[in-house]
């Protein structure tokens, strides 16, 4: 049996893990600074460092660009990468399926439905939000959370009734299809401008998150990450199969409930603030496992969080097309980078399912 208990690991293996983790954390820091240094507007690196160090620079416009635009965006990239990476890991473990991602339960489809209702059928749904005092980005975030929560409640109710995780996967996929169909109907009957606004939301956006929104976004993602750290033992047991986990005396339904709840918080918050970011959730856990082979979530979790941050910061640098005034939609970049990455890992590893048995 391939049950890797940390106690029996050789010391060198642990040492190489710690070294790897520190290396990746160092890469996160480097990319964070590079990310802030590059953008549509060219700002000399000295000025960037001065601004970050809190020293006043000559050009107030540059200082504002760095502090009001680039730093919040870089922080958002780290949160999105870590949050989606971890929720992808949780789903892959819950379903013991390498193709699972944060959105298999229909969370992003639910969020899309909420946003579609708000933008496309905006007259009645959006109006209620506007009148309740939440408008603009907050309205979209609130609509996304409402939609994701709606789907989540249904999935949770179903999950408490059924024993088999695989059935849950199918139900999640069906929920996704059903909500997408409703979104299509809404699009069909909407004005071109509204459809355009909705489509732009689906492209994803890291730059729309300001300091104000980070005050909400940071604690939510941190809570999700801490909660997932607290259930790593349960995750290790789940990976061995429902029956095995039960034989260890674990309440499988309760564990499943927790995993789904944490995933929803992480993926739901990311989708609410940044739109449905594609591929990161599926690709990052595989990439982390290819860097360090393990089935122990106490080792995987920090690695996935940091790898996610690296990938997202990197994707955002590409999306800025440094040196030009133009940008690419972040989703196009994550998909273009994410899809070949997964293919490459599959080729390299040959057998992905070995991590799930």
């Amino acid at each position: 049996m391939n049950q890797n208990n940390i106690k029996f690991r050789s010391l060198t293996r642990i040492r190489s893990y710690i070294l790897l983790l520190f290396l990746i954390i160092a890469v996160v820091f480097v990319l964070f600074v590079v990310n802030i240094s590059l953008g549509s507007v060219s700002i000399p690196p000295v000025q960037v460092i001065k601004t970050l160090a809190g020293i006043a620079v000559d050009n107030i416009s540059w200082q504002n660009i760095i502090l009001q635009f680039r730093v919040p965006k870089a922080i958002t990239a780290v949160l999105v990468g870590s949050g989606l990476g971890i929720s992808g890991l949780l789903m892959q473990t819950l379903f013991r399926n390498p193709l699972a991602g944060p959105f298999v339960l229909g969370i992003s489809a639910g969020a899309s439905l909420g946003v579609a209702l708000s933008i496309l059928a905006g007259m009645w749904f959006g109006l209620a939000l506007t009148q309740s005092g939440i408008a603009g980005t907050w309205a979209l975030a609130a609509a996304a959370v409402a939609g994701a929560f709606f789907v989540l409640v249904i999935v949770l109710i179903i999950s408490s009734r059924i024993r088999d995780s695989m059935s849950l996967l199918i139900i999640g996929l069906m929920m996704g299809s059903a909500t997408s169909a409703v979104v299509s109907i809404l699009q069909y009957y909407s004005r071109a401008e509204s459809v355009q606004a909705y489509l732009i939301w689906t492209f994803g956006s890291l730059g729309g998150v300001t300091w104000e929104e980070l005050e909400v976004f940071v604690p939510v993602i941190l809570t999700g990450i801490i909660l997932s750290w607290l259930i790593t033992k349960k995750l290790n047991a789940l990976l061995l199969g429902d029956q095995y986990a039960e034989s260890l005396g674990m309440n499988i339904k309760k564990a499943r409930f927790l995993v789904i709840l944490i995933t929803s918080v992480l993926a739901g918050a990311v989708t609410a603030f940044c739109g449905p970011i594609a591929f990161i959730g599926i690709a990052v856990p595989h990439l982390a496992r290819s860097l360090f082979r393990s089935t122990d979530h106490r080792l995987l979790l920090p690695l996935v969080a940091m790898t996610g941050a690296v990938i997202m910061l990197g994707c955002d640098i590409v999306a800025q097309v440094p040196g030009t005034e133009f940008t690419l939609p972040i989703n196009a970049v994550t998909s273009v980078i994410g899809a070949p990455l997964v293919i490459w890992i599959v080729f390299k590893r040959q057998d992905l399912s070995s991590s799930f048995s």
């Binding site: 953008g39 549509s40 507007v41 416009s61 504002n64 660009i65 009001q68 635009f69 680039r70 007259m123 939440i134 408008a135 603009g136 980005t137 907050w138 069909y188 009957y189 004005r191 071109a192 355009q196 606004a197 732009i200 939301w201 492209f203 994803g204 956006s205 890291l206 730059g207 729309g208 300001t210 300091w211 104000e212 739109g275 999306a319 800025q320 005034e325 133009f326 940008t327 939609p329 972040i330």
Partner: protein, 357 residues
């Protein structure tokens, strides 16, 4: 014998419009519409037949023969409608896709009275209803994605002409399409004189502002996702700003279409601009600030020089600016000139624009 349009002489003088021309052969007016959708190379010829002309109809391959004056008409775009009203043929409109988008009180009344049929969403015209109505003319526009449906309507024996007003880069070029509409109703002279008076007023206002030495800077649009959409320097909107005596901050750009820039690129160039014109769906400064707190860093936000084209929005969300703005560039220009140069446009009451409070 085949006739070449090149041998004929223009019968209607076209000054600003680039996408259509009118020639006369054997006493028949022949309208040629060039490149009627973005990226198209096709051109379409329409031979306007009259009952009093007994000459042989010119043999032009692919040309449609249309009996004029047309007994009634179906239009696809709200921008086609003001011309009907201006030449006094409003009663001839018998159907429109999604009548709730119409702003004009005249046509709204006709729609409520059941005199204008609703053909469903523009993306999917109700073909059977259209065929049953058997209109004398369908005035359509296309983005190139529904050519199959257009072909089907022509094959069903219904005369259909393509209107390309939305591709004209000069404001007066769009207004000049009144001549196109006028020809089908045999109202060419009336259309010509209406256009001439619009042109004189337009040139009068641009002449007044040209005398002003002060050219305030202007920025336009808002961020969607991570992208700020702005008209290129050769775009319709840019020409309006120039003629209204303002310096559009991207006027040196050579693009005729829409630029997609990053927020920081726009911030760097335009945060100190004098005016901000066109804030899409944001109607108050509070809404702008809620959507993105960084909007509040723009100078016009704090000096109160923010205006939107939303003074006339009907209860169902249709904006009169998008309907009538093409036909009445003189009204748009008068508004803009009064915003930028209140000293020379004394007493002008804004028509399409309103100040964002």
């Amino acid at each position: 014998m085949q006739t070449s349009l090149n041998d004929s002489i223009p019968s209607v003088r076209i000054e600003y419009a680039r996408r259509f021309a009118v020639n006369r052969i054997n006493g028949y007016d022949i309208i040629t519409v060039r490149s009627p959708w973005p990226g198209s190379v096709e051109s379409y010829a329409y031979i306007l037949k009259t009952s009093d002309n007994t000459n042989p109809i010119p043999d032009i391959p692919g040309a449609q023969v249309i009996n004029t004056p047309v007994r009634n008409i179906v239009c696809y775009s709200t921008t086609h409608l003001p011309f009907l009203e201006m030449i006094g043929e409003q009663e001839k409109l018998i159907a429109f896709p999604t009548t709730s988008y119409i702003s004009s009180p005249v046509f709204r009344k006709m729609a409520t009275d059941g005199r204008i049929q609703d053909l469903g969403p523009t993306s999917e015209i109700n073909f059977e209803k259209l065929i049953t109505l058997n209109p004398g003319l369908v005035m359509a526009y296309t983005m190139g994605n529904d050519l199959g449906m257009i072909q089907k309507i022509i094959l069903a024996g219904i005369p259909l002409v393509l209107n390309a007003d939305y591709l004209e880069n000069h404001p007066l070029g769009r207004a000049e399409w009144i001549k196109f509409t006028g020809l089908f109703f045999r109202r060419a002279e009336l259309a010509d004189s209406i256009f001439n008076s619009i042109r004189s007023r337009y040139l009068e206002y641009s002449g007044i502002t040209a005398g002003s030495t002060d050219r305030p800077t202007v920025v336009t649009g808002v961020v969607y996702g991570d992208t700020w959409f702005l008209p290129g320097g050769r775009n319709y909107a840019s020409i309006f700003f120039r003629d209204a005596g303002a310096r559009y901050l991207w006027e040196d750009n050579l693009s005729e279409s829409i630029l997609q820039l990053s927020f920081e690129a726009v911030y760097e160039r335009a945060s100190g601009s004098d005016y901000w014109i066109g804030t899409a769906s944001y109607e108050t400064r509070q809404m702008l600030r809620n959507a993105d707190s960084r909007y509040a860093e723009f100078k016009p936000f704090n000096t109160g020089r923010v205006y939107n084209y939303s003074a006339r929005i009907n209860p169902e969300g249709g904006n009169e600016y998008f309907e009538k703005g093409y036909a009445r560039p003189d009204l748009v220009l008068a508004d803009l000139a009064a915003i930028f140069h209140p000293e020379v446009m004394k007493g002008h009451k804004l028509y399409f624009y309103r100040k964002i409070e």
